[in-house]
Subunit: 201 residues, 2 copies
């Protein structure tokens, strides 16, 4: 007999430790915090989790998460339909929206080309992207893909497909982060910040 | 209209960001991860959360979290009843159990004396501790309290109460962590590691 037989806590810890960035220690801390907190918190959280997948679906136009279909962004006629921002995952839409830098439409690829992980162009929503670009007479496609090997590969692949249709293809700038320090910047980032240096006028 | 109207995700993010060590960004990452994962994960997690407070109660003897009352540790007659380990919180019991260093009984104080935060000795289960020590003829009380101002205050307070009954009172050693580095050790810890240095024989 030992304390390890506290099954309800153990089961919660096991479940929580499956979340990204949550190790066994953090999961244990969270579980005990929930146990220490008023029962209403656990109940409301349980309800939200239970109904999450029913409340949220994919937008049939852009592929982002939404409660309505089409999503509020695709349905918003005041947004620029001729500029399209291509992102890897649905959550990237929220990140870019919060920056308030972009007022066009989005397209969620659903991943990045990574042949070693078995992800090929056919697994991504590239056909739909080309179709939307053509139908909406999109003039510029901004590739907001992470500056990684997979992001670079996917960007090059899309650029080749899109430039045939005369579309301007651009990519988010890569370089030193604001507030960053040369000393702590990795070589590849430093190399990019030189290659794409901006002339001061 | 904006993506910020995705209420079901927003509500989950708000709830998750109330957990300790989970900021808004982490909460958002977790929420999207749950959304990306198979619906069964969210359902099982929801069930565990909903039933947690019903499944787990406080042991009426030691105060730790348990599914049965008394808890498996208090009910285990093979454990040393004359040695008692005093901890601040119920989750500390699990941490010490996992170290397999202790085979006696536990007592959960339910906090530490902190007059500035309005926590006085009367708010802790000190009366029950003294009563258990007397009834079970406890010979040694090990204070496994954090080496903080509140932990020190509480330890001194308990020591004064317990020594009157002729009980040996000890406290967990405080000093350099294993694998630690003098250079990165704070002054107070270094000072303690000198004061409580151990003679090598």
């Amino acid at each position: 007999m030992s304390v390890h037989e506290l099954n309800a806590i153990d089961r919660l810890v096991t479940l929580l430790s499956k979340l990204p960035g949550i190790g066994k220690k953090s999961a244990s801390r969270l579980a005990y915090h929930i146990l220490d907190t008023d029962v209403s918190y656990a109940r409301v959280l349980a309800e939200q989790l239970a109904s999450l997948h029913e409340a949220i679906r994919r937008c049939s136009v852009c592929g982002s998460f939404t409660e309505t279909d089409p999503c509020p962004i695709c349905a918003d006629i005041t947004r620029d339909a001729h500029t399209m921002c291509v992102v890897e995952r649905a959550q990237d839409v929220r990140i870019i929206e919060e920056s308030r830098e972009f007022n066009g439409r989005f397209h969620v690829l659903g991943g990045l080309i990574a042949p070693l992980d078995g992800i090929h162009p056919g697994d991504l929503s590239i056909g739909q992207l080309l179709e939307r670009v053509k139908r909406n007479k999109v003039r510029e496609v901004i590739l907001a893909l992470n500056p990684t090997v997979e992001g670079d590969t996917t960007a090059l692949y899309l650029q080749n497909l899109l430039k045939e249709g005369g579309v301007t293809v651009s990519r988010l700038a890569s370089g030193l982060p604001v507030g960053g320090d040369l000393e702590y910047t990795d070589k590849l980032t430093l190399s990019r910040s030189f290659r794409y240096r901006v002339r001061m006028e």
